[in-house]
């Protein structure tokens, strides 16, 4: 046991020396967490995860925010730590996936939104399409977040993603894409089955000048061709 510990210590020390440069950044995170009311011991541990996360080129803000959320919800510190580590891992994983789809150098907020939408079932291929169709990282983040929100509202993941992609491709801005959930909800409240909402919104989508609210385009008289082609994904 002792020998193993000694070997580990030797292996770890160069890594610890290299870490000195980022100590300052880490103590900033720690100080910020303490300022927001987190106990110092937990703030220390979360700051380590935040440092590791930004060391891997990811945004550490979601990690910090998640820790604060757990703290105010009185979640036990080990559970908070587990949740932030899990979040960091999921962001790393989704970034690797998107890199594999040809999207490197993605903005931190986009990765965060991608991790969230992945958790709601939006697959890599659809996420890549959303990111490419959006004109900016801000729009991409909003688009990914809206796709996740539509899934929460009951639409299936594929339909939700296609709605966002088509919106962008038809010239809609991020603000207009943020209206998609209200348009979907309006249809649902009028009695349109959730499985039909996506189709109706897509059919009702003009080219940027009808406000995107689905309006009076019931689409019931149109031929019922499958609007969303089946997709084979390698996820």
């Amino acid at each position: 046991m002792k020998t193993r510990a000694m070997i580990l210590a030797l292996v770890l020390s160069p890594a610890m020396l290299a870490g000195q440069a980022t100590v300052a950044a880490q103590s900033d995170v720690r100080a910020m967490l303490v300022a927001r009311g987190i106990a110092p011991a937990l703030a220390e541990s979360v700051a380590v995860v935040a440092r590791e996360t930004s060391g891997r080129g990811l945004s550490s803000q979601p990690v910090v925010d998640k820790a604060v959320e757990g703290w105010f919800k009185h979640v036990p510190p080990p559970r908070i730590l587990a949740a932030v580590r899990d979040l960091a891992g999921r962001m790393d994983q989704v970034r690797t996936e998107l890199r594999g789809a040809g999207l490197a150098e993605l903005d931190g907020s986009v990765i965060g939104a991608a991790a969230e939408s992945r958790a709601q079932g939006i697959v890599r291929g659809d996420q890549a399409d959303i990111i490419r169709a959006a004109k900016s990282p801000t729009a991409a983040s909003a688009g990914l977040a809206v796709s996740a929100a539509l899934v929460v509202q009951g639409l299936d993941a594929r339909t939700s993603a296609r709605l966002v992609v088509e919106s962008f491709r038809r010239g809609r801005t991020a603000s207009q894409v943020l209206d998609l959930p209200s348009a979907a909800r309006a249809l649902q409240m009028r009695g349109t089955p959730t499985s039909e909402v996506g189709r109706e919104l897509l059919e009702g989508m003009g080219h940027g000048d009808d406000g995107g609210d689905g309006g009076d385009h019931s689409g019931r008289n149109r031929p019922r061709a499958p609007l969303i082609p089946p997709r084979v994904d390698n996820d």
Binding site: M1, K2, R4, A5, L8, A9, L12, M16, G19, V23, A39, P40, A41, L42, E44, S45, A47, V48, E52, H74, P76, P77, P78, R79, L81, A82, A83, R85, D86, G89
Partner: protein, 179 residues
């Protein structure tokens, strides 16, 4: 002791139900060690684990008449123990903050000895679902075979393999710098 060892679980259960209540003690002795270790690895805190196991035995005694297949007492009892353990784990009071994992760089001696490894794993196991925790403990801590796990959990081996794989992934992610 010869007498007890020749009786199967089903026979012992039958005798208890006929009125020989002391025979239940033989069942407790038979499973004290195996389920004691399981409870402690699932719950973490040894006292809470022992309490959960005691509650499980008492519950099994009270409901012994409802054990449909007395010959499979161990499987039936396993479920009772696992459920009690998951409940006990959820009810644990907040861990004192001093016990929260301090960063490695502050500990110049970096003693990653057995107790430290064990503690980190216990914290990491928070990230597992109760189902993942069960299979991980059975496979990687207790070293049970997949056949045995199939019998205890009522799941196909393929499903068990996937669950163990997922549990390892989550733990690897949690343990990060230990790799």
């Amino acid at each position: 002791m010869g007498d007890a060892e020749s009786l199967t679980d089903g026979e012992l259960v039958g005798l208890v139900l006929k009125g020989e209540v002391e025979r239940f003690g033989e069942l407790v002795e038979r499973y004290r060690v195996e389920f004691g270790r399981l409870a402690r690895s699932l719950v973490g805190d040894p006292d809470a684990a022992d309490d959960a196991l005691q509650d499980a035995f008492i519950s099994a005694y009270r409901n012994l008449g409802r054990c449909r297949e007395p010959e499979r007492f161990r499987v039936w009892f396993y479920r009772i123990v696992a459920n009690r353990c998951h409940d006990a784990r959820r009810r644990r009071p907040m861990v004192p903050l001093e016990d929260v994992d301090p960063p490695a760089r502050d500990r110049a001696d970096a003693r990653l000895d057995g107790s430290e490894l064990k503690r980190r794993l216990e914290v990491a196991m928070e990230a597992l679902t109760p189902e993942q925790r069960e299979v991980f403990v059975m496979k990687e801590v207790e070293g049970k075979s997949y056949q045995e796990m199939e019998m205890l959990l009522g799941l196909k081996i393929d499903a068990l393999r996937m669950r163990v794989h997922r549990a390892r992934e989550v733990l690897r992610n949690q343990l990060g710098d230990l790799q």
